[in-house]
């Protein structure tokens, strides 16, 4: 474990039990299936993956909304996976959550003041301090002049303003970590940049650690230093953003990058290469490497039978892929 790690995740598993009416347990959905990483204070990691890869389950487990089935979760060296209610309560004040759909995340019958007061009341902050803190965070997310916004209800705000309220709420209790689940995917292009810049600004001024969950690889370089690619409940590649874009190692990462267009008129002339098939079922994941049924570079007799270990073919660039079996683990 790095000494400076704020959050340490060790071999984390989050499985959902599927019940059958007559015979009891029907199996497990292995949404997060062995995830390990450290997140240092003041840094950001983007977790990229397609729907059903387990990235939202990972976020919710880290938020303390789900208990991990197996594995360990440490925050400032304190174990969270075995924490009692009191520690969990403290932990939740240290971790802010920015949801994907700002309108869905804000209660429609509460005005901005009430929305922001709620977490402060729950965490026992006195009334005078509450008003002061609400004003501070509204200024920080740039919802000014405050008087114009504080009495408004969510439906009276634009999408970008709603997302600022969500971010303000996440910042209220001065967290050390923000988990942002697709924070800009519901917003228009011209507003996205503003929100990403705001998150970036908060990250640097408060030395926040940020975990972004996203499917949008093209924007990743604008908000994080490191990137994880998730597939079938596992992180298949970990790298600095620039390294990953320059030299993607895992065949799945390469497929993802190839599938993403940049606005260019020559795109109409060619077809994009897409690996066949669909992402794996997390109920019955394939044996060996989970990408092997779709992989163009599959090594038969190896990839289909044995799970690849985490290898480090170049410094600080890790991947779960047998192609690099000669490099160090």
């Amino acid at each position: 474990m790095e000494p400076s790690a704020l959050l340490s995740v060790r071999n984390l598993h989050t499985w959902y039990e599927l019940r059958q009416r007559v015979f009891g347990r029907a199996g497990y959905v292995r949404a997060v299936d062995g995830v390990t990483f450290d997140l240092a204070e003041g840094t950001a990691i983007a977790v990229v993956g397609e729907s059903g890869c387990g990235k939202s389950s990972l976020a919710k487990t880290i938020l303390g909304l789900y208990r991990p089935t197996r594995g360990e979760l440490f925050f400032q060296d304190k174990p969270i996976h075995t924490a009692n209610a009191q520690t969990l309560r403290w932990y939740r004040s240290q971790v802010g959550f920015v949801q994907q759909d700002p309108y869905g995340a804000l209660p429609p019958f509460m005005n901005v003041r009430r929305i922001l007061e709620e977490p402060l009341i729950i965490h026992g902050i006195r009334k005078a301090q509450r008003q002061e803190r609400i004003h501070e965070v509204l200024e920080e997310v740039n919802l000014v002049p405050i008087e114009d916004f504080i009495a408004k209800f969510p439906h009276m705000l634009s999408g970008g303003q709603q997302q600022r309220v969500v971010i303000a709420r996440a910042m209220l209790l001065r967290p050390k970590l923000i988990v942002a689940d697709e924070p800009v995917s519901m917003l228009d292009a011209s507003v996205r940049v503003e929100i990403l810049e705001l998150l970036r600004h908060l990250q640097s001024t408060h030395r926040l650690a940020v975990l972004y969950i996203t499917h949008d690889l093209s924007a990743v370089r604008h908000f994080s230093e490191r990137i994880f690619v998730m597939y079938g409940g596992r992180i298949v590649e970990k790298a600095l953003v620039a390294d990953l874009l320059r030299n993607p190692l895992h065949p799945y990462t390469r497929a993802l990058l190839q599938a993403i267009p940049d606005a260019d008129a020559t795109n109409v002339e060619t077809y994009r290469e897409v690996p066949p098939g669909e992402p794996p079922s997390l109920l019955h994941p394939p044996s060996g490497c989970r990408f092997h049924p779709r992989c163009p570079l599959v090594i038969s007799g190896l990839c289909d039978t044995q799970e690849p270990p985490e290898l480090e073919p170049e410094p600080l660039h890790h991947t779960l892929c047998w192609l690099y079996k000669d490099s160090k683990a």
Binding site: S158, E194, S218, R221, I260, D262, A265, Y271
Partner: protein, 318 residues
Amino acid sequence: MNHGFLQVEHLRLHYRTTQGVVQAVDGVTFTLDQQQALAVLGESGCGKSSLARAILRLLPRNVAAYDGCVRVHGLDVMPFDEERFRRAVRWSKISIVMQAAMNALNPVLRVADQVIEPLLVHQGLPRETALVLVSDVFQLVGVPQDFMGRYAFELSGGMRQRVVLAMALVLKPPLVLLDEPTSALDVLTQANIMNVLKRIKRETGTSFMLITHDIATSSELADRVAVMYAGHLVEISDATHFFGEPLHPYSQMLMASVPRLRQEHRLEYIPGRPPSLIDLPRGCRFAPRCPKRFAKCEEDPPMIHTEDGRQVRCWLYE
């Protein structure tokens, strides 16, 4: 002289609400040729989905104004009554893939039975003949034959979107309107669907009007691009010129706000927000947010035709 397969002139669609009249489509003029794909780009609330509804006459009850001219093969279809429009135009000449339609498939019907419906109702074909055509269209969009008897919940998002596309194509209309056809899909599925659309365009010569906010994805299919802002088209251009160097200040800023995977560039955002379609600014509708505005922008600019065949609604190009 080729007047284009679809000609839309001064099309207006306004809605009545308790707060006032929403001028969603406010005098839109463009043409679309056969075998051509036009991307209509715009942000939420600019009126782009209303434009599709206005062309196909899928109107809600609170219409305050609906006029202008829509010509299909040179024939003005606006005077058609609802029955004639339904028989002669909707689905047989122009069909639509609605936004999020893949989540609106009937859960208790097998997918083939949903795709077959227009053939039975519109064309009165016997079921056996119609089933052959459904099987053909499934092949065209890449749905395996043994999926015909399945239900929507048994299919992945990508497969459901193909089924919805099959519904739009089953009567072989010359034009299909696509309203955000890939925005709810994953990256790889999105690339798959765009590949399918490219292939259909090449193999069948179908025209597409692709309505989207996703500029990068639109470049996969579009031969031409129209940019919509606050109920107006502000730029119409061929794709090569547009993706290289857009003309309208709004188009330029929109392009600068989109991150590019293969190229590092500073992202810009557009200050302010689009005007309310109820209370529109006088003159150019983008002027209040435009860094290049000048005195003349107090007046509403006309669509200006440039020498290289583009159209732009901005006084800078007068």
